[in-house]
Amino acid sequence: MLQIFCPHCGELRAEEEFHAAGQAHIPRPLDPNACTDQEWGDYLFFRDNPRGLHHELWIHAAGCRQYFNATRDTISYEIFETYKIGEKPSVTAKPKAAAPGEQA
């Protein structure tokens, strides 16, 4: 069970208090009507799904009910930072060498 630092409550909390809400930083197109079906489909469904560093959206559902972003390694599950909506991530490359443990 992960432990996640809520940037609003200012504390580490258990994963059970949160819900993951997918990849972060996917803004709604400003003019959806100008999007082609291709572009709209990309917005709706196509994701980076990276093996490694991932910026993702979470909500502190049982706590302050705020959405925020997290930078997490999808292999080690290490969380490098959490930050408020509107802020930019400060970790954009893996701080250390690829970790073990992915294989069966």
């Binding site: 609003h8 409550c9 200012g10 504390e11 909390r13 208090e17 706590g63």
Partner: protein, 209 residues
């Protein structure tokens, strides 16, 4: 105040049933063992107001203070004065608890003080209730129920947190050394009551009036 619809929602007199009315707490009161590790009391029919606004705005904090006499608390804290308390619920949300029947006055005062600001005040008195737990085993009971750390080092008096509890959610408020409060939603109150009875079996549970 035409922009917002505000009115007295509580009748004068009339039959009132708190969320745990049908649990028969009144009948059970005083009948438990004096040695019970957990004592439970429903702090019922209080006035609950949700206040939303910009916590970073000094004008907002000042107006809330003016209207309530309470300093706007920061993250995870609870301030109280007499029968009233003000609790941080989120970066733009607070809960004001006042004696039952005074919430309409309190709301009017708040709206007056906050006039011109973008805020929300909502009477939620009918939707929630507070369970007060005291006794030597309360911490153990809480540990059975929530993954939040209730050790006094982490959860001193005056702290209040929204967290998971059993298979639902609520707010835990630490109000005195051996006294904790659970702020619960009306529709979940029977579930929590059942849970608390079950989880406190080994410690003994006594209901207080």
């Amino acid at each position: 105040m035409t922009a917002i619809n505000v009115y007295q929602q509580r009748p004068e007199g009339g039959k009132a049933e708190s969320p745990l009315f049908h649990a028969g707490l009144a009948d059970a009161a005083g009948k438990g063992k004096a040695t019970a590790g957990i004592q439970l009391r429903e702090r019922k029919l209080l006035g609950h107001l949700t206040i939303r606004g910009d916590g970073h705005d000094a004008a907002f904090a000042g107006a809330v203070h003016k209207a309530t006499g309470l300093e706007l608390p920061g993250a995870l804290t609870l301030v109280s004065s007499g029968e009233s308390s003000l609790q941080w619920m989120g970066p733009d949300e607070w809960l004001l608890v006042v004696p039952g029947g005074t919430e309409f006055e309190a709301e009017k005062k708040l709206r007056e003080a906050l006039d011109g600001q973008h805020i929300q005040v909502v009477n939620v008195s009918g939707g929630q209730t507070i369970l007060e737990l005291t006794g030597s085993k309360v911490r153990e009971l809480l540990m059975k129920s929530t993954s939040y750390d209730v050790h006094p080092k982490n959860f001193p008096v005056g702290k209040a947190v929204g967290t998971v509890f059993a298979k639902s959610q609520l707010v835990i408020r630490h109000t005195a050394e051996d006294t904790w409060e659970l702020l619960i939603r009306r529709s979940f109150s029977d579930y929590f009551w059942l849970w608390l009875q079950d989880a406190s079996q080994e410690y003994g549970l006594a209901v207080k009036a």
